[in-house]
């Protein structure tokens, strides 16, 4: 049982939770995720950790209300308890000084991208962040991203804020403008697929953090398997980050729809 310390609405469907989890807060690194379950009949769902505060003993999760299980979580309030939180899981992001790194995030993927931006900046990289959302009210973590990025580009589908266009438009503009050593992308699978196709064209090495269906999250079930470079990999233990150019995104998208009616 983990207590919800605070709940904040980024929009009516995107919610930030600060959750008491001192051991996870202490051991997590950028890129790690947790498995969360709400209620005795609840499903185990993976959520990437956005930030953590070791002193307060808390982790922060940003959740988009998209289905039954995320919906149950979003109904919880400050002071309520989440039935189970386990982690940190997965491999941490590989951080070093690559040179110039473009971090491309979309939707709630911006939240788990933040600690990576922070760590890459601290490692001496020139970090250019591109974040995208459908409209202005869905843009999250703008100030924090700006504080840790050398440049922040905001894209909205409807042009209500920043530049009008998709995340790929922003990324392409940078690649055409200057030499990029690495791209890191987190967001909806279809967005990562198109970022990957784009950077492949320009031969910019790219890392994508995949969000597949999981049950245990520790390698036991294989629900999360993806094809990377022609081989089957488990996102929970081999990932969640992979060389995006090797990921079979079409298969991943198909598998994400496994249980949707």
């Amino acid at each position: 049982m983990n207590k919800i310390i605070s709940k904040e609405y980024y929009s009516d469907r995107v919610i930030k939770f600060e959750i008491e989890a001192p051991l996870i807060a202490k051991s997590r690194k950028a890129g790690h995720f947790v498995i969360v379950r709400v209620g005795d009949k609840g499903e185990r769902i993976p959520l990437t950790i956005a930030t953590a505060d070791v002193q307060r003993g808390t982790i922060t999760l940003v959740v988009q209300n998209v289905g039954k299980s995320s919906g149950k979580l979003c109904e919880l309030n400050e002071g309520d308890y989440i039935t189970n939180v386990v982690g940190p899981l997965g491999k941490a992001t590989h951080i070093e000084n690559f040179g110039t790194v473009v971090c491309a995030g979309g939707g709630v993927g911006v939240a788990p991208l933040f600690p990576i931006v922070e760590a890459l900046k601290a490692a001496g990289n020139r970090v250019i962040t591109v974040m995208a959302a459908r409209s202005k009210d869905l843009i999250i973590l703008e100030e924090q991203m700006a504080a840790h990025s050398d440049e922040l580009i905001i894209m909205t589908d409807d042009g209500s804020y920043g530049k009008k266009g998709l995340v790929t438009n922003g990324v392409e503009e940078i690649i055409q403008r200057e030499k990029v050593d690495l791209c890191v992308t987190i967001g909806p699978a279809v967005m990562m697929k198109f970022v990957s196709l784009l950077t492949k064209k320009y031969e910019v090495p790219t890392v994508a953090s995949l969000n597949t269906i999981m049950v245990d999250g520790t390698g036991m079930c294989g629900a999360c398997r993806v094809t990377v470079g022609g081989k089957t990999k488990f996102v929970c233990v081999d990932g969640p980050e992979f060389d995006a150019h090797q990921v079979d995104f079409d298969e991943m998208l198909m598998r994400l729809g496994s249980y949707s009616k």
Binding site: N84, V86, V215, D216, T218, M220, C221, V237
Partner: protein, 492 residues
Amino acid sequence: MIDKENKSDRRSEIWREDLRKALKAKERTGLTRVHMNELDPQVRCHNNEEVNLGLTPEQAQTEAKRCLDCAEPNCMGGCPVGIDIPTFVKYIEKGEFLNAAKTLKETSALPAVCGRVCPQEKQCESKCIYIQKMGKEPVAIGYLERFAADYERESGQMSVPETAPKNNIKVAVVGSGPAGLAFAGDMAKLGYSVTVFEALHEIGGVLKYGIPEFRLPNSIVDVEVEILRQMGVEFITDCIVGKTLSYDDLHDMNFKGIFIGSGAGLPRFMGIPGENLNGVMSSNEYLTRVNLMDAANPDSDTPVFFGKKVAIIGGGNTAMDSVRTARRLGAERAMIVYRRSEEEMPARIEEVKHAKEEGIEFFTLRNPMAYLGTEKGHVRKMILQVMELGEPDASGRRSPVEVKGVTEEIDVDLVIVSVGVSPNPLIPSSIAGLQVSKWGTVIVNQDTMQSDVKDIFAGGDIVRGGATVILAMGDGRKAAANMDEYIRGLKA
């Protein structure tokens, strides 16, 4: 612990001698082995209730009479946890069922579990004088074990094994499956403060997520875990050693010894075309969804496919558990696809028998080559390569070889791959200095279960790669005895 002297002392107690004299050996050997009462196959394949119903007290006492109370009971040599088999069986014959249960609990932390899932036919019962010398069916030790454990539980007079005075030395257990629970029970008896760390949200490991309700009800596991709790064992769920807590953290928390019983983790796949289609999954995933997450229950948030034409790839106990689960979840065709013949099947004979009674189809000497999917990416067909048996391989089993060009196509809407597991690298990879084999199993001294990192012991599938509940428990017990010795050595 039951040493040899203790055993013969018990055998020469007056009541035992009187009991032996009460019936002539010939009368005993003239009795036929009891049949387990079972739920009707037509009824049970539409529900999730336990198939084996257990013995009545009369049946149990009659079966116990068959035991000759041998002076040299070879059955005990076949038990990985060293249960004093003649003593518990004779208590049953005498009608002292609670004492029988107490005897079981001297050396087994999970008697009601073992009475259900141990392959006794390959262990204690295979050493019984009936089968060894007389060419008759062995005493039904497994059924009697289950009877005694169930009788005690249902009597409401559960005994808690005695524990030595607390020595205030902390030991940690990684994983709450059969190896970890057996280890925890023995260490608690020796007076240690035992903490069990479990990654999942339930205690029991494979007993909970793997073995189905119709073979081992979760409530039975919970009762045995509760006894361990009453013995002072502490359980912490949602905690992954190597992730949530590091090896160093455990030292900082003052744990003097660590037992790793994290189990076999990663399911194997065959690497054939179409294996990542929707509707193709590992038996671990399928069973975890149904058993741990209760996915077949409409109230559960976890989804599962209710396949109508279900194929299970593999011939082990997990494959049998999966195929019989699929049947209960409404499969019209529930099929086993196995590349060797039935004779080579690793599953227990009883499981194969039960599966057949439930209408499971067996496609032996068949090996899947590929799966075909619908436009939306859901599996719709499997292509099987027909096989025949060739020369015996390294395992002594005749190895299957392809019959060139002969294939079959069968319609399916769910495929469960049950071709084995490999050890989970999560814990071994997080402890520097821990030696692992090329298969990823933790290397330990086979006599002591101690690893190269002196305060770390390991047992069960993380060492064996994939074995049985009872072998895991045997490892747990052996590790407990040797860790106790190691820790005593530290103080000296």
